[in-house]
């Protein structure tokens, strides 16, 4: 039923878009387009899975991902490339090089930003800080306080990207470390309430910085069936304000399609996550129109459809 409704919405949208493109010869400056590419939980999978008969053999790896990203960048004007954490740990590359080739490859691919996952603590905070010397992109986190740790001043709570006429605010959330990350690895890091910190940041980005869109890179996890009250992207989206998109990670969830959730203000929040190990690259093509409402804090809806080739 939901799919059917989405299909109808999508058909209506496509038909509308076709008519629009037929009738307006020139680029319509009141419509802006943004392509978001995203990964999560790549876990040091720099090379494809080995050809050993396993389910994922021959899949993943930076060489193929980079090629695809280059092709999309060549075809699209405004692209953001984002990662939702757990860059580290999972192949011997990490055990040997402590994350250097992972961060270097992401810089080569032109990642715009990432957040930090629990496994990015695995080599210790000193190591993560050291490896970030190879990063040409910021680590976004608004709910970890790294005061008096090696990571102090190495992350920023948000970054605003100017894409054409659009202002896109991006922030990030890390998961609670206690019980997940060994105590000695996170040291003095203080975990702050993700819902509260996100809402503060998102409200500031929308109201004070006039961002047209707010994206949260979240390593909280999509949902926890055995612990349904544990904060997850589904709960976060519901409790959020002024967030348009959550790019998730941690639970290695392969979503068939992005999930829409109504937030506290009745507006749509989109959640997406693309499994793990760089097996997939997620793509979301957003269209924007001029904001005409006098009071922009009213409920906002978005139509979601599957991109035809």
């Amino acid at each position: 039923m939901l799919n059917r409704r989405k299909f109808i919405q999508q058909s209506a949208f496509t038909a509308g878009a076709m008519l629009a493109s037929k009738w307006s010869m020139a680029e319509d400056a009141s419509v802006q387009k943004l392509v978001i590419l995203h990964t999560n939980d790549v876990h040091s999978r720099l090379e494809p899975f080995p050809m050993d008969g396993s389910r994922n053999q021959g899949l993943g790896g930076v060489a193929a991902r980079a090629k695809l990203i280059e092709e999309i960048r060549a075809a699209e004007e405004q692209v953001l490339l984002l990662d939702a954490g757990d860059i580290f740990q999972g192949t011997p590359f990490f055990n040997l090089y402590k994350g250097e080739p992972e961060i270097k490859a992401m810089s080569m691919m032109g990642y715009d930003a990432c957040t930090m996952g629990n496994h990015d603590f695995d080599g210790g905070l000193e190591n993560f800080a050291t490896q970030l010397n190879h990063a040409k992109f910021p680590v976004l986190l608004c709910n970890y306080d790294f005061t008096n740790t090696a990571m102090e001043h190495k992350t920023v709570p948000y970054k605003i990207f100017k894409k054409g006429k659009l202002k896109i605010g991006v922030t990030g959330l890390g998961i609670e470390m206690k019980g997940l990350v060994p105590d000695n690895l996170f040291g003095n890091t203080v975990y702050l309430d993700p819902i509260q910190k996100l809402n503060e940041t998102a409200s500031m980005l929308k109201k004070d910085k006039a961002c047209d869109m707010v994206i949260c890179l979240s390593h909280l996890g999509y949902q926890f069936k055995e612990d349904p009250n544990k904060v997850s992207d589904l709960i976060l989206a519901k409790e959020s304000e002024y967030v348009d998109l959550i790019i998730g990670g941690h639970t290695h969830t392969f979503l068939d399609e992005p999930v829409l959730v109504k937030n506290r203000l009745g507006s749509d929040v989109l959640i997406n996550q693309v499994g793990w190990a760089g097996l997939q690259l997620g793509r979301l093509d957003f269209e924007f129109s001029k904001e005409k409402r006098k009071n922009f804090s009213g409920a906002k809806t978005i139509s979601v459809g599957k991109k035809s080739l």
Binding site: L46, G61, K306
Partner: protein
Amino acid sequence: MWLQKRVTFKGYITVMNKTILKLFFSTGILFIVSCKPAFKSTSVQYKDYKIDNATVDTSYTSFLRPYADSVNRSMNMVIATLAADLEKKQPEGTLGNLMADAMKAMAEKYYNTKVDAAFVNYGGIRLPVVKAGVITKGKIFELMPFDNIVVLQKMNGKLLKEFLDHVASRGGWPVSGITMEIKNKKAENVLINGKPLDLSTTYTIANSDYVANGGDMSNMLRAVPQINNGYLFRDALIEYFASFTKAGKQITITIENRVTNAQ
């Protein structure tokens, strides 16, 4: 002449108006930009690309080569030699015995304390057999791909018995420092360091953090505080296996009736 003058006048007014309007609009737009978004997202189209390596950017392959060469060299590093095939088996197997011994020995070394018993959850052993001959670092990564950490927990005999009953109900897990029989899915005739289990004695137990955190249904361990220095179980295996080589020995391990099914 009159007409021309009028046009000029009118033009002047128009220019004036435009300037005023421009001023008005620019201020207005500035005002709008500074306090509310100019655009809103109205639609989104999604697509997931499978990264199938049909086409690649070879500059990345070149970038990775020196790292990959080293990784392969490292993974091909011979850690030890096995005298005989090791098997994953329940209630007891040679592969599990070796891994549990590694857990106990390395926990004692890295926490500098006596450990009464060590466990490995059966499902955490990721190879059914390790063949006799050389064992490489890569093989140990296959055996234990998870980044489980060796942790210590102190518990009284009563709670330990509860955990042992759980181990028994799962068909028997690899143990070191302990012997027991499985009877009606319970642990019976438990001996620790050769002495019968005492319900009020405090024992020091080594486990993976996965099990200590309640993994594989070990819920009874969840509330027990952990001592955790981040030492990976895989590193413990590598070091323990290498200690045989250092001593000029091959690895030999047998079935010692650590865990048996009661007749």
